[in-house]
């Protein structure tokens, strides 16, 4: 009777170890999956630094390896996954916005020399006359 109970206990312990191990593997898999997607978004020019910082905390929890840490890591990963999906849905607009700003700035910078060439002499002339508009021209000898 005692031997049967001992066997049953061992089986339960083995199953518990198996469940915890499987959970750790799942967490690692999900961690790497999120990491890959964040790197891809980052290379597209999207700011993912906040999510990376949080993922770094999860890495520490995974390194700790205790059941409590793994459970906490799992729940944090779920939260990051949700936020990642939101970020992905907004990614195309974000990329469009970043590119729009970039190419508008380039166009503006390229137009500055043209504008200077065309406008500077006119503006200078206007200012020159404005500054001297009260000047009086007198003929005759000066003292």
């Amino acid at each position: 009777m005692v031997i049967i109970r001992l066997h049953a206990l061992l089986v339960i312990l083995f199953l518990m170890v198996l469940v915890v191990h499987a959970s750790v593997e799942d967490v690692e898999k999900e961690f790497l999956s999120i990491y890959k997607e964040l790197v891809e978004l980052s290379t597209l020019g999207i700011d993912v630094s906040d999510l990376i910082k949080e993922l770094s905390v999860i890495l520490e929890l995974m390194d700790d390896g205790s059941n409590e840490s793994i459970t906490k890591a799992e729940s944090l990963l779920k939260d990051i996954r949700t936020r990642l999906e939101i970020l992905k849905s907004k990614a195309s607009y974000e990329i469009l916005y970043v590119n729009l700003i970039k190419y508008s700035s380039i166009t503006l910078l390229a137009l500055i020399p043209v504008a200077t060439y065309l406008l500077l002499p006119r503006v200078y002339l206007k200012v020159w006359f404005k500054v001297r508009k009260r000047w009086v021209i007198r003929y005759g000898r000066t003292r």
Binding site: L32, V39, S56, K102, L109, P113, T116, L125
Partner: protein, 172 residues
Amino acid sequence: MDVLDEEVFAVIMAIVVVASVVGIAQLIRSEVVEPFTAIGLLNSECRIGDYPKEVFEGEELRLCLYLYNHLGRPQLMMVKYKLGDKNVVPTNMTPSPEAPLKTFKFLLNHGANTTLPVRVPIPLNTELVGKEVALIFELWVYDKDLGEWVYSGRWVHLYVKMREAPIPWTKS
């Protein structure tokens, strides 16, 4: 009437054109011209210098690791701690053939660095007592496309003299 002197106008135009070209170049060029990672070894107070010259077998040595990411993207990194001698020190192409005794993982944003105090084990090995050993720290990076860890070619090592443990460990 030529109010604006031609030479002055030419100089102004030259300055404007150069400034414009420099500005456009800054916008077009990629943020990271030369991607790299860096690893550094610091003493137990996380400062350069004053490193231990000798270690005792079986002890846990306190040191600090410094890592920097300049790859232009977030990077998952791992430092593998190995113990060897001058014959098994890594090169910038190949890691040390010794088995890692401990690993440390890091995740860094682009442009970020970290300094982490670590405890590294000095194994019980009577063959190494009295000899000069190398504490090797190799930097490995996770390749997301390959799905595996890849040696970065960066490492640091510290030569120390191995001493016998002051208290015998194997007495029961």
